[in-house]
């Protein structure tokens, strides 16, 4: 009984209630990976919440300094492994700015489709786990059924289900076949009905409303100060969406709305994401129509660095570089000019930004990634204060954090 004696003895002596310290994670079913939270509880109410991160740290930024630009894309898959296509795009956009390459239109359209597919599959996984955390088990399996469909399409596109590495500097690796386009069309036709299915289960469910309404309310100002982005920020009523503000790929060609919430509570964020699912579906539809206009065009820019493509002629022997070891390139000059570039995209979780500095060598001199999950986790103590343990689970869910994305 030593534990309880200790808790009772350790009261602060000022007549204030003793706090109960509990360790949540890193092995806990609802911390979405390896997040560890040290909680101080007063009964079941959270007095203090202290997130500890780093259990999934792989040193992606440092690793990138020793890999050439195309190899870095494989690392990007492992950031937010639920929407790896979006990470690929962020990396490639930064590298393209550095190189001064513009991908052909077909490639940009395909990237937009892939990005939105990643968004849908990420949001489906979010809804599944969020609902499961709150206790609705059936929604979880319904979402996984539809995510499975999307993953099988991804498999047809690039052969991988989760870590795609599909996007390349200057375009994409492979063109869409007719089969993929037909399959995607079928998906976009049926998906709105599926969204309705989920909403029927939880949208007006009294218990769901009780668990999400007025939980973890963030007003617009606090949300901006905390650095929140993506659906979490839009749930607080700020219509900030990188796709609208700094359009990349083909987002300037397509129409879509940016849904925003009013109250900034967990339910609003849920609604925002559900609306985004519909918008993403619509964007995919528009892009599929536009793909017809660019039938047969290349999907990789002519001047794209052919670091890993077998179709181009490589030098038989790698050329030694005075500083950086071997340069695996078919071109005489350094592929990447010295300089720096910044690109940010609207990843499903929030704003994902990549800043890259080149010294003219084959590898990035420095690569810095700003991931939404890291910022969102830093907001948990603020949001959790005064809520109960059960709400903490909903808060982690509503922020939609992925620890691979946070720890890098």
């Amino acid at each position: 009984m030593s534990l309880y004696v200790e808790v009772i003895k350790n009261g602060n002596g000022k007549g204030e209630p003793e706090h109960f310290t509990i360790n949540m994670g890193p092995h806990h079913p609802s911390t979405h990976g390896v997040l560890r939270l040290v909680l101080e509880l007063d009964g079941e109410t959270i007095v203090k919440c202290d997130p500890r991160i780093g259990y999934l740290h792989r040193g992606v930024e440092k690793l990138a300094e020793h890999l050439n630009y195309n190899q870095t894309i494989v690392l990007s898959d492992r950031l937010d492994y639920i929407a790896s296509a979006a990470n690929n795009i962020a990396f490639c956009l930064a590298f393209e700015k550095l190189l001064g390459i513009t991908p052909p239109r077909r490639a940009r359209l395909i990237r937009t489709i892939v990005n939105e597919m990643a968004r849908i599959s990420s949001h489906l996984l979010w809804l599944a786990t969020h609902a499961l955390d709150i206790g609705a088990m059936t929604v979880f399996l319904y979402c996984f059924r539809d995510r499975e469909w999307l993953l099988s399409i991804f498999e047809k596109v690039c052969g991988a289900r989760l870590t795609h590495s599909y996007v390349r500097v200057g375009g994409v690796r492979l063109d869409f076949t007719q089969e993929i386009i037909d399959e995607l069309r079928r998906f976009t036709e049926e998906f709105p009905q599926r969204i309705l299915d989920y909403e029927t289960l939880i949208d007006v469910n009294r218990i769901w409303l009780k668990r999400t309404r007025d939980v973890a309310v963030v007003d617009a100002e606090t949300a901006i100060n905390l650095g929140l982005t993506g659906p979490v920020l839009r749930g607080s009523g700020v219509p900030y969406d990188v796709r609208k503000f700094r359009p990349y790929d083909a987002y300037d060609e397509v129409e879509f709305e940016v849904p925003v919430g009013e109250r900034g509570d967990t339910y609003d964020r849920y609604k925002v994401r559900m609306k985004e699912l519909r918008q993403s579906n619509w964007i995919i539809k528009q892009c599929l129509d536009k793909l017809k206009e660019v039938e047969g065009e290349p999907v990789l820019a002519e001047e794209a660095p052919d670091l890993l493509l077998p179709s181009r002629v490589r030098e038989p022997e790698p050329k030694p570089h005075p500083k950086k070891g071997f340069v695996f390139t078919g071109k005489e000059l350094p592929v990447v000019p010295p300089g720096e570039a910044f690109a940010s995209i609207e990843s499903p979780k929030g704003e994902l930004a990549v800043y890259v500095v080149s010294d003219g060598g084959p590898n990035p001199w420095r690569l810095r990634i700003r991931t939404p999950s890291f910022v969102h986790i830093s907001a948990i103590p603020e949001l959790a204060k005064g809520h109960m343990i059960a709400d903490l689970v909903a808060i982690i869910g509503t922020l939609d954090v992925v620890l691979g994305d946070c720890d890098r």
Binding site: S2, G135, T138, L201, I207, K210, R211, M388, V393
Partner: protein, 329 residues
């Protein structure tokens, strides 16, 4: 038949009946877990158990065998005697209730005059198993689970007793056999129709009493990992699991007895005396499973709010109206 029964010495008769009853209930509990997994799988577009035996029918047996083989881990810092006895308290309290349920006009193991009270007392006592296991585990998650459970059971016990009191008022007896007989004699044949409010309150409370979704807070997997039995393993874990399903069966059987007319049916089925009772029982058990597949989980304070602010006043008002009607009609 009755001559033969009359010749059996009484203690032996009790033993035989208890043996039949225990096996019947254990069979039901085992296959309730199977049915739950199959039905929920169906609702969630999965397959459910389908590997052990035809259509997975031997799965419950395989589960029990597996759990029996597992090492019985007792952590170092636990209060060993309490830790060991807690699952037994839960199981015995949950299981004993079966002996009071009249399965048939001529088949009830102990026809107690205060049968209803006895069942309520047992279900209150089963909370001790939960609290003690939470305390003895010397783990913070288990303690939180145990505390949640004690609060929950105490609050919902009140509403449940009040709902059952209306039935007692109508039947004029605490004896379960008499309650069934009074129902058959009443104009509607079942108390479900005049006591629909009490039935609703009772079913919600039964969900809470047995720690089922949407009131499965003591063992909320996503919050407390497993709640009060987080430190248990092997057969002791299985005992808690069994206790939960025993609780479901007993609560459903009580609902059948008190609200759905017990073993009485629209017509007699020759050779199958228990058929109506079991049919009604299965309908209620299906309800439990259905709820689990559909609803999210309440939050602790909301659960308390629901119990104290909605169910107890509702049950009280219902009791008052019943008493009034009983006096003046």
């Amino acid at each position: 038949m009755s001559d033969i029964i009359a010749q059996i010495p009484y203690p032996l008769l009790v033993f035989i009946v208890a043996f039949i009853l225990l096996n019947l209930t254990l069979l039901h509990v085992a296959y309730l877990t199977y049915a739950e997994r199959k039905i929920i799988a169906r609702m969630q577009q999965r397959l459910g158990p389908n590997r052990v035996g035809p259509r997975g029918l031997l799965q419950p047996i395989a589960d029990v065998l597996k759990l029996l083989q597992k090492e019985d881990i007792i952590p170092n810092n636990v209060d060993k005697s309490v830790f060991k006895i807690a699952p037994l308290i839960s199981l015995v309290c949950a299981g004993t209730g079966v002996s009071l349920i009249p399965l048939w006009e001529k088949f009830v193991l102990s026809n107690l005059n205060v049968g209803l009270l006895f069942i309520l007392a047992l279900s209150s006592l089963s909370a001790y198993g939960v609290i003690l296991s939470g305390w003895a585990s010397n783990s913070r998650y288990a303690l939180l689970g145990g505390l949640r459970s004690s609060a929950q059971v105490i609050s919902y016990e009140i509403a449940m007793s009040l709902a059952l009191l209306s039935v007692v008022l109508m039947a004029g007896s605490f004896n379960l056999q008499d309650i069934v007989k009074a129902q058959v004699a009443s104009p509607f044949k079942v108390y479900l129709i005049p006591q629909v409010v009490a039935f609703f309150v009772f079913m919600v409370c039964a969900l809470a009493e047995t720690n089922r979704v949407p009131f499965d807070l003591p063992e909320a997997e996503t919050e407390l990992v497993a709640g009060y039995f987080v430190e248990y393993s092997g057969i002791r874990f299985a005992l808690f699991y069994l206790a939960e399903y025993f609780g479901m069966v007993v609560m459903s059987a009580l609902a059948v007895t008190c609200f759905l007319g017990g073993y009485a049916g629209p017509f007699e089925v020759p050779g199958l005396p228990f058929i109506w009772f079991l049919l009604k029982l299965y309908v209620l058990l299906f309800f439990y499973i259905w709820v689990r597949a559909t609803l999210p989980r309440y939050r602790y304070d909301q659960l308390m709010g629901l119990g104290w602010k909605v169910l107890i006043p509702l049950a009280l008002a219902n009791l008052f109206v019943t008493a009034f009607l009983k006096l003046y009609l």
